[in-house]
Symmetry: C2
């Protein structure tokens, strides 16, 4: 079974008048109620007079009822919906980046394996983007460090190196491991594990992050299959 | 070519002491500099004394240099990294939810099609989660409304209805269209388009959101292929 979250997270979505001070008003109100904002994301803008923005908010250390009451009392806040913290719905994220054909095969393996673990109470998502070129791929590797709940990156391609290898080292330094397909270029010296078969790479990626699996990436570091 | 963003977004990632007032201090400082916070996500917690949280921040209406200077001047803020707004890296998101085998086939079609559009300057991601059961799937459908940059949902399964159909209506009401595979249950009466073949469903999903494609979902609404 997955570990319990240390703290319950209250989650809501609401519309607010889009002003420069809107977010600081929200943050001040939330802090005054004892909550710690963990996520605040603008999901949509709503044209009109005044223009509104729709915001998804996740807060720790506060009951959902208290959060709803505090925000509904604010003049600038319109409709408030109760939602669920995204971590409880979409869970841990495996990110797959690279060439289309190979990304699709890694996704096939990862989705099939995630299905088996999610049936037993896990929550694992498989998020992908097909990209070409050193600049684009290196930027995506770096940006994985900015994605909430990203747990592991799979690099799916036939040739990667240069700045992609530099970005891979940076990503691993913040604690996100990388699996790469066996391929041309320096990248295979800058990842935790190299797997030749893309379906198996996706499968092992999910096994590495699933609490319901017994696979330990630490014990496989530097190996090639 | 993709449309330009109306406003440039400054993006940084930084560590900050994890206190109840940390976020309101950030929000106040940002607002005082004239910026509007669009995204604030806690990406990691860092144990220690004091404990830190690592935050990804995206702000409109402010130069990145000014944002970095304003935050670096705060006592509670530690290392500041310059990053890129996630929208410029991962772009629009197609979300695929349902049974593992079918999610994987939809992903295959969507990733292959996204590859073709991303080569021409688009940025389209394909994000998936395999789930089973009315309660889990309905929650995921509702949560798509809370995902930044989610543009379209594909429901991939063999039987869906009940609360999933209710959730589908709610999601479409906030402006996110849905494509479903042809399947048993009421869901096919609560989506924009029904496609029998999962690879084609993924392909059409990407065509529907790509500015580089000529497919117009509006003109196909309610049809089945």
């Amino acid at each position: 079974m997955p570990r319990r979250r240390a703290l319950e997270t209250a989650a809501i979505r609401f519309d607010i008048v889009d002003s420069p001070t809107a977010i600081s008003a929200i943050a001040t109100t939330t802090a005054a109620s004892g909550g710690r904002i963990r996520t605040l994301a603008t999901v949509r803008t709503i044209e009109g007079d005044p223009p509104l923005v729709e915001i998804e908010l996740e807060v720790e250390g506060i009951e959902e009822d208290a959060l709803v009451a505090a925000l509904e009392a604010m003049d600038e806040v319109r409709t408030v919906h109760r939602t669920r913290a995204l971590g409880t719905v979409f869970g841990k994220r495996i990110i797959v980046v690279g060439g289309g054909a190979q990304v699709a095969q890694v996704a096939l393996g990862a989705v099939s394996e995630a299905d088996r673990h999610n049936l037993r109470g896990e929550r694992i998502s498989v998020d992908t983007i097909p990209l070409v070129g050193e600049v684009n791929i290196a930027a995506a590797v770096r940006a994985v460090a900015d994605l909430p709940r990203a747990r592991l990156l799979v690099l799916a391609g036939s040739i990667m190196g240069g700045d992609i290898s530099v970005a891979a080292d940076e990503l691993r330094a913040v604690g996100i491991p990388i699996i790469a397909l066996n391929m041309v270029g320096s990248i295979t010296d800058h990842v935790d594990l190299v797997i030749s078969d893309p379906v198996q790479a996706g499968t092992m990626a999910v096994m590495a992050v699933a609490d319901t699996a017994t696979f330990d990436l630490e014990r496989q570091r530097g190996r090639r299959y």
